[in-house]
Subunit: 365 residues, 4 copies
């Protein structure tokens, strides 16, 4: 399992399990001189933390992030300045209900990593999913909070665009709505539909998948690499690394398969101010692996939560047939909390490519 790090110059290493004392990450390569407060960083973790509505898991974790290294504190006792050294962040696990894991410790829950972890490692921390728990993503969100500081002027925002078969009406898109409902929906009209739909799923102890869209604006043109480590490739790779993600698209994505060359071409014209203008953005802001200066658009599909109340057939570690029913506090739609995680991954990819382009210390800023 020697691959808990991502990034080439902006490097993030995460560690920790669901039920250990803490989890966290080390952000290596952050340029010096960036300033932030703990409160500003906590905002991102609060977006992801559980228990914020009846549509997400009722596990209660404060997810308070601590910064252990890599910064100097101002005289105000609040503002931190990065020094260029590795930033170690830690989040304590506070809601570890002691319980009898007897059964779950041996059973392979369908859709979970139980079977493959045991197969590969011969040992597995079964408590709350161990390393495969979505709690790991709290560390990603913390890292994303630092990444957002790296590229001046960049805004990375995500939204939920589909739950089950219910898609938003894109003509209703309003970023201001995203913070106004428990789904990160940019379409106010679909909120009651989703509420009713998810209430049904939740009460049935079932779950459902979702699609998230992340848009990064203000990304300088010229970030990326032509062949391998394309900017879109690295974004896709990081989104695909999120638990439960099964598909990733850039720009018009799979719809490109049904599009003609004429319609797919993002035509250009010189603007009145002498800067080039793209007349459309089917490419999702990236051509040949390199950013164009347009908004970067990525989408990813999240499968339904594997933990459900309905019995499913499976086997256990002793090779016996069992019927598994996962009790406990689960997200009926993990896609909701995946919104800030997707944002964090896109922010990290952009920060990494920015530093590759501009240098370790981001001097050109």
């Amino acid at each position: 399992m020697s691959h808990n790090t991502f990034g080439h110059l902006f490097r993030v290493t995460t560690w920790g399990e669901s039920h250990g004392p803490a989890l966290g990450c080390v952000v290596d390569g952050c340029p010096p001189g960036l300033r932030f407060t703990l409160a500003e960083l906590q905002v991102w973790l609060d977006k992801r933390k559980p228990g914020q509505s009846r549509f997400v898991t009722q596990r209660r974790e404060d997810d308070l992030v601590k910064v252990l290294s890599g910064v100097m504190l101002d005289a105000d006792g609040e503002t931190m300045t990065t020094t260029g050294t590795p930033i170690s962040m830690l989040i304590e696990n506070t809601d570890q209900r002691s319980k009898d894991y007897g059964e779950i410790a041996r059973q392979y829950r369908p859709g979970h990593a139980d079977y493959t972890y045991d197969l590969k490692y011969g040992i597995r921390d079964y408590r709350g999913g161990g390393r495969s728990s979505a709690r790991e993503t709290a560390a990603r969100v913390a890292a994303g909070g630092i990444a957002r500081l790296v590229v001046p002027g960049v805004t990375v925002r995500g939204a939920l665009v589909q739950i089950g078969k219910h898609k938003i009406d894109r003509s209703n898109w309003d970023w201001d709505q995203v913070g106004q409902n428990p789904f990160f929906s940019p379409d106010a009209a679909i909120v009651p539909v989703w509420e009713e739909y998810l209430d049904g799923i939740r009460k049935a102890g079932s779950s459902i998948g979702a699609v998230i869209e992340v848009i990064a604006e203000g990304v300088p043109a010229g970030l990326g690499a032509p062949i391998y480590s394309k900017l879109d490739q690295d974004i896709a790779s990081l989104l695909m690394s999120i638990n439960a993600v099964k598909g990733v698209e850039i720009g018009n994505g799979f719809a490109a398969a049904e599009t003609s060359g004429e319609d797919n071409a993002d035509e250009m014209r010189m603007g009145n101010d002498g800067t080039p203008i793209f007349l459309s953005n089917n490419a999702g802001g990236i051509l040949g692996g390199i950013s164009t200066g347009q908004p970067i658009v990525a989408r990813f599909a999240v499968k339904p939560t594997s933990s459900i109340l309905t019995e499913r057939q499976s086997i256990d570690a002793d090779g016996k047939n069992v019927d598994v029913r996962t009790k406990g506090r689960h997200d009926p739609c993990v896609g909701i909390r995946a919104v800030p995680i997707g944002e964090a991954m896109v922010a990290c990819a952009i920060a990494d490519h920015y530093l590759r382009d501009r240098g370790q210390t981001g001097r050109l800023k």
Copy 2:
């Protein structure tokens, strides 16, 4: 552009432009003792090479691969045995029509990397797309030919499953059909439909997108990593690195968003022979980033060829508005030739993870 390498223990570095003397790759980390002939390797390149039907570009390249290092030749003068040292392979560019690049050298063709390369590097090899030419993928296919030798018993096969809105009927899936038609279609029934459809597009000088599916069978369980460098993440990353790819799916992919937890669960039972059996494969053969032993299933969407005969609005390197029309020999649907490329990428990802799991020299084989 310091990222022309992929893989962690099975590492591939590609080099070369469309119109230079040659292109090629170095495959580093191939275990010793694997045996093959040049003819066996050439099979994969022949699948990808241009000019094989009226539905692909009429550029004529033999794409004959040479092996310059990393092997010892048997007394038969044909069979090579890998020694564990880097395998350098080279493919000459033979069809470089000399022509006047005057206009194209300055114009930014919509959908191509022209604009972003110039922006990032300030210089660009405009001949045939230079480094961004799909010719680079010949080197990937050669590397994939070596990768196929690494894991005993693995079969990696691809097929075209959609052109434009025309999808195959999956109940017709027959691997034997794939080699019998110019589209790598596993569904014989759709071949005449695609022929007529693509003839129209070809004659109009237009182009269309496509979807490819790659399936790897015989992959040992236990390959992959839990968090970053998940096997599905690495497959998605490599598929996304192929020119013109805009979306990637594993298993049921985006359809997972519309699926309930009950339906999505791949249930298990112990087989009569004492080995575990999965009753379905929504996961696409990977759970928690680690292979389950089931077939690995990946799909990717390719956008329509950007080079079309219809004029599109753009700008040139001098910041002037121009109308671009790309003459020359182009693929009406680049997705067709992407089939062997996708296979190669999946084969490389599996070989890499096999060596991470079993060690540099693949001793456990």
Copy 3:
């Protein structure tokens, strides 16, 4: 500063400054199923910790290591078993005397990283040297403690072989002596000489350099790589990464320059038990970058502590000439405490190459 990680499959990321709340490391890639207690791990940190004799700094740090992730605790509450997930370790900084850093915050101490850090980053944590403090090496020693568990049967031991011009008599070499004196000397006879010599240096507020030798026994043959990432290269690289190290040797090292081909050849004969025997070990256990099965022998030179009481000419951050005199608690010979650090680095390099050879989970063990 995006390079606080080393290793390819056994990867160590360290973080932390001298005067922050804590420092630590994440050990990624440790195979599952290794067992240890905190007390066993602490042994290595105790070897390195300050204040153990009058010949090392009197700073008082307990350097108690905590394990935050990557293990499961036995019912005995003491024994831990690695799960294959990243092992996060943390050491609190307890002896952070609050003091006025006014002068030192602006002055560039000769031999220290003050000047270059300010030049590169424009900001610098001047408290106790910040990131450049030798306290960072506590994290390395913790990582080395884990590395020692990876390869069965390996023993990695270090000794001080030279202080100033005073070299040990190699014919007196006795490993049992190493733990019996404050210098890690394998030669009991030199201990009083070094005591008197170092007392003089200490009282004068001066400092002196040293040479350390590390020997690894029981290393399986076949670890390493032929060209880049040679085992000796990776050992040299890690030893050179230790603060204050200015030279590294493998086997007979610089003496090889004065040796003839006849004398340098390590001749071989088949042993009576049918295994090959080397008749000498000028190579230091590595041929062509790959371990031979003989003991691996590495030496490194440490410069004198830069912090001395004598005034030295320098400049400050404002470009003014200053005379610097470093008060405080310093090691008269940092080479002494470099012994366990050198051991840790060699242990990590061997563990990494073992996993490259045998695979991520070390299955062949």
Copy 4:
């Protein structure tokens, strides 16, 4: 053997054996817009090529380098401009005397990689040492030729400073002498001494070791990284990767062990022109892993050529005792031809750190 690449942003991958059709390298990450001619590149290869005096091997190789990708040719047909894409370079093996390798194919020559390669890989290209042949270093020298173009104003020069016990008189150091004798000696006075000494060794079929010093001037301050990937660490690592190297030093190196803190301190003063001046350079131009702007000074020790005419005891692949005597054309002192190789390695390390600091495209130049 998955590690034939070095560098992080300026990446070099070498390939090829002694007796295959060719060897070469791919230089990835070279910034765009650098200009050179093939003749300028060939100069460096000519410095390394065999057969130039009676003191080096009489094997005859022209070592003509070809550039296959990554450049555009000027109208003059000579000047090339880098485009930022990977530069593939190839050198043909022309002097492959066909001979009977019967004995040598099975015998393990002492000091060579024969034993360890067979042990690790179970197969070995015994022709001329295969991959472990010093011919591999021709590719390094070609890469170094490109690296020299990356950092404006940098000069990297090497010299032989010791053969056997015969050291140069450093007070005679004259760079102009280096090109005037067959030893790359900067001290004219020692040339006749070395001639007579080496003639004796050559005629006896023996060999002797040497020490090489490489000095890089004009390196900008601020290159490097504080903890791992220190500039001196990366230089040491690359020098140690050269065949037959057993020791590496930076600045005063092992002599630092015998130096007091007072003497070792490189004092500073502000110069009349307002720039800081170092009054000495014990540090070898690097403090805390980061360049100071002073000349970078590195030394490395090369063991005597293992191929000698005197019989040495060894074993063969069948586990039988044999006496090995290596006939053929060998260097009596491989250290001589190591001078341009050492230069190349230092140039590559500097180029890599320059790009890490300034960005992929070296924009700040």
